[in-house]
Amino acid sequence: MIGDGLRRSLSTEGYAVDWVRDGEGAEAALRAGGHALVLLDLGLPDADGLNLLRSARMVGNDVAVLILTARDGLDSRVAGLDLGADDYLVKPFETRELLARMRAVLRRRAGRASARLITADTELDMESHALTHAGATAVLSAREYALMHALMERPGRILSRAEIEERIYGWGEEVESNAVDALILSIRRKVGKGVILNLRGAGWMVAKP
């Protein structure tokens, strides 16, 4: 039932879907190759999905893999990622989230080549210093870029004012008292308020993918 629903959703989104329902079929499909992304349900009827992933990686298959599972214990999550899965989604999930994660995985895969930092709805191009958020794109100044880069290196992590100042000012440089607020204001003006989240008293962050 999941497979059927997903196949229809993915087709609607414009993906071409090969749907196999057992370990044997999965192995054959992995061997055949040619896929941009594999959605691997660990609850296959006749095989352990993790073993399937392990053997695929061992023969050098580098296809992007997103694991779908009912098990969310830290150990199995770590095991999946250690085996070379790109991401991990615990059932049940909304198709919107799956699609977002698939996009993120694909972008990350592509981004490795083109040097981009990518979070849920934000991309920072490290060469052109272009910031894209929710459809709006703008090129950042050097300090804006340094600030955005610091935040996007670890999405979901709050950076305090002092931490940000340390990142955007060199040694011995005079720190202006409200420089951080001014930079954030100007970044928000360029691509939208939601690009940087403010936690009063703690600092700023960007949302996790």
């Binding site: 999941i2 629903g5 214990g73 059932k91 049940p92 999930f93 989240l197 936690l199």
Partner: protein, 432 residues
């Protein structure tokens, strides 16, 4: 109701035994002494009779001699001498009639029972008599002598038995303390060393019970965990199907369905978390509470922004804690989650880590609807919900939070704010 006291039972039996032995010893001593005394006194009577003759008559009668001060007149021997049928001498208290038979005899004279010995030598007949009372007294004294030390033993035995019992039972106190101080989830067996051999089977049986109980609890926990896991796949399938429904179609029922699915998924998540908490404790590590708090706040930033809630953090003290990180994160996340959930859009949630009376305190203030009066007592019960029914929730969050807090010795309280503003204040007090 508990059974008879071991100590009292042992004392009772000990006393009964000593009393039994005492009575037996008394009887035996009495009978033996009576026999001995009879032989001895008979010999004495005979000796007196052999030595007494007409010569005794010349002397003063024994009756006329003044009795010695410590001499009981009853102890005195009465000697009667006849010669040719005529009485030569007689002591008071006995008949003057000459007995027919020679040798030993019992006779009642003057209302008392006497033991007599009669000897005839030619024309002279001598009868020596002694009161029977003397013999009984002799035996009684012997019996008393035998029973006295045993009677003294009774209180002594109480002391000794009481002391010994206290010692033995004192060793059980350790066991009692261990049992009383045990948490429901403790799985270690009770120690069997230092337990008296007789009590060891009881302790063994208790350990067996603890083991079986633990197995039952484990099975229960595994069942909940497995059930929750198994529910996830069908829920995911329903979600996948729901997501391919065209959004325009019957959008009211579609939204209701989506909402129901979200609730079911959340419930499954929390059931799993609870089942996991009931099991083995995770690996504890040294945590910087401020860092964990900042992380948790970061996790909730998107939610806060989506609801336009002003989420503020004030860290004025540092605190460390030795506990599994994911449990403490769950605890803080639950409080944050509740605060954001029940605070309406545009509200304010204030998270702080400070120090009160020397103890680190983590507090979450919200500007939500507050707790209805009377809900405090049930707030931490599983599936209890104090909040208005139109706000989604499983009723498991605070049950999970309290579980974690208790496990790590943290004081968790949730109450209405007391600073005049509407809303809830949740506090975690760390041990100093």
């Amino acid at each position: 109701m508990s059974g008879a006291s071991l100590r009292r039972t042992a004392l009772g039996w000990m006393t009964a035994l000593l009393a039994g032995i005492g009575i037996a010893a008394m009887l035996a001593a009495y009978l033996l002494a009576r026999g001995e005394a009879a032989d001895f006194l008979d010999g004495q009577l005979r000796q007196v009779a052999l030595n007494a003759g007409p010569g005794l008559v010349d002397g003063r009668s024994a009756a006329q001699a003044p009795p010695a001060a410590d001499e009981d007149p009853e102890d005195q021997i009465a000697v009667t001498i006849w010669q040719d049928g005529r009485i030569l001498r007689n002591d008071p208290g006995v008949d003057m009639r000459r007995p027919e038979r020679l040798g030993y005899a019992e006779a009642v004279m003057g209302g008392e029972t006497w033991r007599t010995y009669t000897r005839a030598a030619g024309p002279v007949t001598v009868r020596v008599a002694q009161r029977d009372v003397v013999r009984s007294e002799f035996a009684r004294n012997a019996a008393l002598g035998a029973v006295t030390p045993l009677l003294l033993l009774v209180p002594l035995s109480w002391l000794v038995v009481g002391w010994a019992m206290n010692r033995v039972l004192g060793r059980l106190d350790v066991l009692v303390g261990d049992l009383a101080g045990r948490s429901v989830s403790a799985t270690t067996p009770l120690p069997t060393q230092d337990v008296p051999v007789e009590v060891a089977p009881l302790v063994g049986a208790m350990n067996g019970l603890i083991g079986r109980l633990q197995a039952a609890l484990d099975a229960q926990r595994r069942f909940v965990a497995d059930a929750a896991h198994e529910l996830r796949t069908p829920l995911a399938a329903m979600q996948a199907q729901l997501d391919v429904l065209p959004a325009s179609d019957m959008s009211g029922s579609r939204d209701a369905l989506a909402e129901g699915l979200r609730r079911a998924s959340r419930l499954v998540d929390q059931l799993l978390r609870l089942a996991r908490l009931d099991g083995q404790e995770g690996a504890a590590e040294r945590l910087d509470l401020a860092a964990v708090l900042i992380d948790c706040v970061g996790d909730h930033a998107v939610l806060a922004q989506a609801k336009e809630i002003d989420l503020g953090v004030a860290i004025t003290a540092s605190a460390t804690l030795h506990a599994p990180a994911d449990e403490i994160r769950t605890l803080i996340a639950t409080l944050l989650d509740n605060a954001l959930r029940y605070t309406p859009a545009g509200g304010e949630v204030e998270v702080s880590l400070g120090r009160e009376a020397g103890m680190p305190v983590l507090a979450v203030h919200d500007t939500g609807c507050g707790l209805p009066p009377g809900s405090e007592a049930r707030l931490f019960d599983r599936f209890y919900r104090a909040a208005p029914p139109d706000i989604e929730g499983t009723g498991l969050g605070l049950a999970i939070a309290r579980h974690i807090a208790e496990r790590h010795g943290l004081g968790l309280t949730v109450e209405n704010r007391r600073d005049g503003r509407r809303g809830v204040l949740a506090r975690i007090v760390l041990p100093a």
